[in-house]
């Protein structure tokens, strides 16, 4: 008798999808977007691609959106803003997608924003670093910098350093001229000076610089207590290596937008600092969405030969963007961009990176960024203390 009941229950479970709801049916909801699948931004954009693919698959494994399957129409913008602009134009006017979602990185997002504004499309994006330029009323960022990252990010970082037993007295700032990096790094200079730190060096280099020897020599000559590297991708790694060749390592070094894996795994990346909205440890992993995403991302990223297959700030920001889009569509039962936008302005959305609000200046809410550090080959949050990984603290203390 027990055996029969077990079999019957099993049969019933097998015939139902995991969510207990009917599989999505009907015409797919097409969400268009671009990513830097090629070009210098591609390594980080790959993380966004994987996150997006998993999200869409999970949506379709459940009830889709409004009971309909979701199709992500993804195009390659080659890391070029001009290509991004043309592709968003194509997605909206030729492919006639129902919704759009933003690309990776500030330049591309800004280029796409102009197109979104022209066609009054809802524009959710995940990696925009210059909030003061985001004037479009229907843009919604999940890069939770807050409206003044050029002030709040350096403040958070310098607060963390000030809490150590040997707070820095001098700072060297070396930054890429990539717009968001330059913007936030110039803010770091102002914040540092206001806090009484001496800025012993301020250098800007072209995005794509090959020769790191001279930059390294200048940093060594300046000999700062802390080095701020306004870098994207592997710039920070290359600078650290060039300094090592001169037998020099700065006492502390901070990297603004590094490719997370390579810096964590590099021999010179020990105790590197950066900022993040998510890392794979409590309290962040207590979020049910995170618990679901982490193993899925690990599997997919490992298969794609991503050297650091862990969910971190880029992946989490991307996931949050999809969560915001899904929340708005589900709540309003609509695909109308204006309706979705109005809902988002008035409501908070629970995401993997926290509760996001969009009612501040330029639709920005709170600065949710925390300081993380490479310890034993992994990124762990070290500041503020309430968000730190269990037992972790900024090293050296």
């Amino acid at each position: 008798m027990i055996r029969l009941r077990t079999v019957l229950v099993g049969l019933v479970l097998l015939t139902l999808p995991a969510s207990g709801l009917a599989a999505p049916a009907g015409q797919p909801i097409r969400i268009g977007g671009t990513l830097a699948l090629t070009g210098p931004l591609a390594p980080t954009a790959l993380l966004h691609k994987i996150a997006g693919e998993i999200y869409v698959e999970e949506l379709n494994r459940g009830n889709g959106l409004l009971g309909r399957p979701v199709e992500w129409v993804l195009l390659d913008d080659q890391s070029k803003p001009d290509v991004t602009r043309s592709l968003y134009e194509k997605l909206i006017t030729v492919d006639k997608v129902d919704l759009i979602i933003g690309p990776y990185a500030t330049s591309g997002i800004l280029a796409g924003m102009g197109v979104a504004q022209r066609y009054q499309k809802l524009y959710v994006h995940h990696s925009f670093g210059m909030p003061h330029l985001a004037k479009y009323e229907m843009h919604f960022p999940t890069a939770a910098f807050g409206p003044e990252p050029q002030r709040t990010i350096p403040t958070t970082v310098l607060d963390a350093l000030a809490a150590t037993t040997k707070p820095p007295k001098t700072i060297a700032i070396v930054t890429s001229k990539f717009p968001s990096a330059q913007y936030q790094s110039s803010g770091a200079r102002e914040v540092a000076e206001k806090r009484g730190l001496k800025v012993v060096l301020y250098l800007e280099y072209e995005f794509g610089t090959r020769d790191w020897g001279s930059l390294a020599a200048r940093v060594k000559d300046a000999n700062p207590d802390v080095l701020w590297v306004g870098a994207l991708g592997l710039d920070g790694n290359q600078l650290l290596e060039a300094m090592k060749k001169l037998d020099y390592t700065p006492p502390r070094h901070f990297h603004l937008f590094p490719a997370p894996g390579p810096l964590a795994l590099a021999p010179d990346g020990k105790q590197a600092l950066s900022v993040t909205v998510f890392e794979e440890h409590p309290p962040f992993t207590n979020n049910p969405g995170a618990a679901k995403l982490i193993p899925l991302f690990r599997e997919r990223a490992t298969k794609a030969n991503v050297p650091y297959p862990y969910v971190e700030t880029q992946v989490a920001g991307s996931w949050a963007a999809w969560q915001v889009l899904e929340a708005a569509v589900t709540a309003t039962k609509s695909l109308d961009d204006k309706t979705l936008g109005q809902w988002l302005r008035k409501n908070r959305v629970d995401t993997i990176i926290g509760k996001l609000r969009f009612d501040g200046p330029n639709n920005y809410g709170d600065d949710l960024f925390k300081v993380k550090q490479v310890q034993d080959g992994r990124w762990v949050i070290v500041w503020p203390r309430e968000s730190a990984a269990p037992g972790a603290r900024l090293l050296p203390p």
Partner: protein, 283 residues
């Protein structure tokens, strides 16, 4: 005011960077000057050589010198094969720019397809090794690259100057009909030269893998400065390419040390413009 140590270190960095520029420029200068083929595939071959060095070293644990021993003959053969295509379709100078650009894009896509767009770094125990000379540090790998560039530049110069093949190549470049009348088999020598140029690209690739971080889009990062080196150094002038590499490397490096890094490309291309204005017959 920058310190003497900083200036000295910048000169060292510049010379070493210039050596790598010269190494990259060598093959391009030879094929452009002697075969009248502007071979943009050269850059893609260099990067392919870098990725193969990475793959052999990082995945199969083959030491770089052994990887080079395999890459050089393989790239020689590849260069010969490429030239066979150019010869078959009678690709002329201007057309070579377009054809080789297309081939470079294809190679870039193949590299990305196999190795993905993710950054690759060939970590070695000696990646950050350097030799201390007073207050200055000379990174070992960059020094090796520079010395290799110098040896190859002088060896190539000697080959072109004193060997029969070298003289025949120069004669064919100057006056193909007359050279043929004297029994110079330009066709055969063109294949040889293409193979040598491609082999030089492979050698440059080995050093790029050891020194730099790899990404498929890097093909284009070197293009501008190496073109400047080739033109400033003079076509088919191996020692000229080396010296031009040093000139550009040092001027970029000093600019970065004294002024600002963002001005470095301005300096190298300004030198190019001045030289082209003063000596327009260089191309």
């Amino acid at each position: 005011m920058p310190s003497a140590t900083l200036l000295g270190q910048s000169v060292v960095s510049g010379l070493l960077a210039g050596g790598l520029y010269g190494l990259l420029a060598l093959g391009l200068s030879l094929s452009w000057g002697l075969l009248r083929l502007v071979n943009l595939t050269h850059f893609a071959l260099a990067l392919l050589g870098a990725y193969l060095t990475y793959q052999l070293g990082h995945v199969l644990h083959v030491p770089p010198w052994l990887a080079a021993a395999a890459i050089v003959p393989a790239f020689f053969a590849l260069g010969v094969a490429l030239h066979a295509v150019f010869a078959y379709f009678r690709v002329a100078e201007f057309a070579s720019l377009l054809v080789t650009f297309g081939l470079a894009v294809i190679l870039e896509s193949m590299i990305q397809w196999f190795w993905t767009a993710d950054y690759r770094r060939y970590e070695t125990a000696y990646a950050t090794a350097s030799i201390r000379v007073g207050p200055l540090f000379v990174p070992t790998l960059e020094l090796l690259a520079c010395l290799t560039a110098a040896v190859l530049a002088f060896a190539t110069w000697a080959w072109l100057r004193w060997s029969y093949v070298g003289k025949a190549l120069r004669a064919s470049a100057e006056d193909p009909a007359m050279a043929a009348a004297f029994g110079v088999n330009h066709r055969a020598q063109a294949f040889l030269l293409s193979g040598v140029s491609a082999a030089y690209a492979g050698i440059a690739g080995v050093y790029i893998a050891l020194i730099a971080t790899l990404a498929p889009s890097q093909i284009w990062a070197w293009l501008g400065v190496v073109f400047a080196v080739v033109i400033i150094g003079g076509l088919a002038n191996p020692i000229g390419a080396l010296l031009a590499g040093f000139l550009i490397g040092v001027s970029e490096s000093l600019t970065m040390a004294v002024v600002t890094p963002a001005w470095a490309p301005l300096v190298s291309f300004s030198i190019l413009i001045v030289i082209l204005v003063v000596r327009p017959g260089r191309v």
